[in-house]
Symmetry: C2
Subunit: 379 residues, 2 copies
């Protein structure tokens, strides 16, 4: 079976960019990833672009400006998992032998939509009920606080950790040290979630180049192996019945562990989809890093810090690094590759050899039922 490695990665700083459009952001990331890979742009055989709100042909519009023309280009949308979906397809197209070199990139410019963030569908049944994303996650948080021994302080600690990590990441949108008190006293959004517990709106792009391993060996880079890929949609069986059980993430994690032979204890570094503080807590449990109802202990004990048992969101995660939707899942892979190469600077996870990425979203009658993409990487 063909082996696939990551040859090059790059991302723009996540930020609010007044003077750059989505295409230019994508181009910056792609150019840097090419440079990082050492490969000529003419060797890219196909491109997979993850994006949600950038309109038709965002992939071609971006690549055109780099003279990367003529090849098959796929524009993929899977809500918050759009970037992860682009990663999956670029990886599998090399794994399955269709191409030897493929590019995944993701891009979003949310600042065009104003401060409000996402352009929500005002005819959507859930939106009409006021069931926007912060509301949905707040309900889950309330329920979690009711079911477990966790307190609002535990939620805040997630934000504190990710902002601390973001401070060490030059690519993070928000560079700000925050305390538990800061988080709890920041502007309320949907009780118990305050604004520092919700990811922010911003712009950015990220790119990853995959290559068949034999071909890749001619390049000088430290090769990072892709060892697993999962994409699932939810079963919608759970809904409001059990709000603290993210069914799709549980299933994606199980499938990734089974297909790779990995165990939660093998994972050194994990970028997961912390769109809200409660989300990160729930995913600790869903991905098997602790028993159900005990996720809050991991943050309390520091087990998920950069120097902990498993470093979660060393990049700052969505909460501090930012969440330009289509770029997010690709940027997660960029961070893991940097970590496994030992290139993560001040936020380097010591001795990281196994990394995972996780993105999930697309609330279709119940949270996170749309799509969940996970990937595994080893040095």
């Amino acid at each position: 079976m063909r082996e696939v490695v990551v040859l090059g990665v790059a991302m723009t700083k996540f930020d609010r960019y007044k003077d750059l459009d989505a295409e230019e952001l994508a181009q910056r990331a792609i150019l840097e990833a090419l440079k990082d890979s050492g490969i000529n742009k003419k060797e890219i055989e196909a491109a997979y672009c993850g994006s949600v709100f950038q309109g038709p042909m965002i992939g071609q519009r971006s690549l055109k400006g780099l003279g990367m023309v003529g090849i098959p280009v796929y524009n993929l949308e899977n809500a918050c998992s759009s970037g992860g979906t682009a990663i999956r397809e670029a990886y599998l197209t090399v794994k399955e032998g269709r191409h030897d070199v493929a590019l995944a990139f993701g891009v979003e410019k949310l600042s065009s939509f104003g401060k409000g963030g996402l352009p929500l569908d005002q005819q959507d049944f859930e939106i009409l009920q006021g069931y926007s994303m912060p509301a949905g996650y707040a309900m889950r948080a309330q329920r979690y606080l009711y079911e477990t021994e966790a307190t609002p302080e535990h939620l805040a600690m997630i934000s504190v950790k990710n902002h601390m990590n973001g401070l060490l990441n030059p690519y993070a949108q928000r560079h700000k040290k925050v305390t538990i008190e800061d988080v709890l006293q920041s502007r309320p959004v949907a009780d118990p979630l305050t604004v520092l517990q919700c990811c922010m709106s911003g712009d950015g792009a990220a790119a990853v180049i995959f290559c068949e391993k034999k071909k890749a060996q001619q390049y000088v880079n430290k090769l990072i192996h892709v060892t697993g890929s999962v994409l699932l949609s939810g079963k919608f069986s759970n809904g409001f019945k059990d709000m603290t059980y993210p069914e799709i993430t549980v299933r994606a994690g199980q499938e990734l562990y089974e297909s790779t032979g990995l165990d939660p204890s093998d994972v050194n570094v994990l970028e997961l989809h912390d769109a809200f503080t409660i989300a990160e807590l729930l995913y600790y449990e869903a991905l098997g890093f602790c028993p159900r109802g005990e996720g809050f202990r991991l943050i309390e004990e520091g087990a998920v810090e950069i120097n902990g048992r498993i470093a979660v969101n060393p990049s700052g995660g969505l909460l501090a690094k930012g969440h330009p939707v289509g770029a997010t899942g690709v940027a997660q892979v960029v961070e893991i590759v940097w970590q496994l190469r030992g290139e993560a600077g001040n936020r380097q996870v010591p001795g990281a050899r196994v990394g995972m990425t996780h993105c999930t979203g697309g609330g279709v009658w119940g949270m996170d039922n749309g799509a969940c993409a996970m990937h595994a990487f080893t040095l």
Copy 2:
């Protein structure tokens, strides 16, 4: 190498649907395709949805209503080639062994955007110059009339033929017999194109189920083989320099012929992307059915009629069947499968054994440079 067959196909009538939303249209097509295939919905291992304007997660939103949950779902956008891109990915995922059974579907509800048709990006550089699609194709038509011996009557004859075919197709949006005079005297849109020379706006969905051949043999259907798939983006090298040469279609056709061993003379039936009458003429030439500058002779001689040398758009094409963008490329495959099975009723192409589909679009600084998808099928 694994062989792939089409096991089931279906489409809704293309129309303007007041009381059905995009999800419901998609569900109708998918249910009918499942019925046509004889396969249980639980055997569908992955789904690829082509759509441009339906917002995030249209694939999952559609499948959810049918209880088709949990599987990987991909939402693919490639402008007018979105449906063709979904077809390609569903086909290749079976061909390359990732899955044994995969569903492609396409859906669009354009009537929500009012009579104007497509929601164009008002900040787009070309749109700002007035270079909308009819304008661009009108320029190509003017140039074609200048360069060749063709007359406006030849353009009109394309519309007459496709409307004649559409009359025989219960799934066509417009059932109307039109004469050359009707076409030429219909409302001017962009000289020389009149309204009966431009495809109309509408709603619809289509679905195709692909299956690995050995597995498929347990079903009673007449199996249609998929023998080739091409997806390309344009090279943007041509632009306005040579307006009557659709570079991307020329290259896609060449690649399809080379990869399948087919020759233009082998093709019995072809569904091509006649968004405007001039487009169909140009593609006759681009796909090698006649020398350059002589496409108009094919329509003059009746060579492209249902009983001609090669039947082009027996379904009525975009001009009469309609063009709900994401559905179009999938519906082309539905028509070809019906034709090869001998199930096309009054519009049956006698003895059709080899069929092809072609969709192209996404004007990114020059017409049709975005994406072109082509597929080949044999009995």
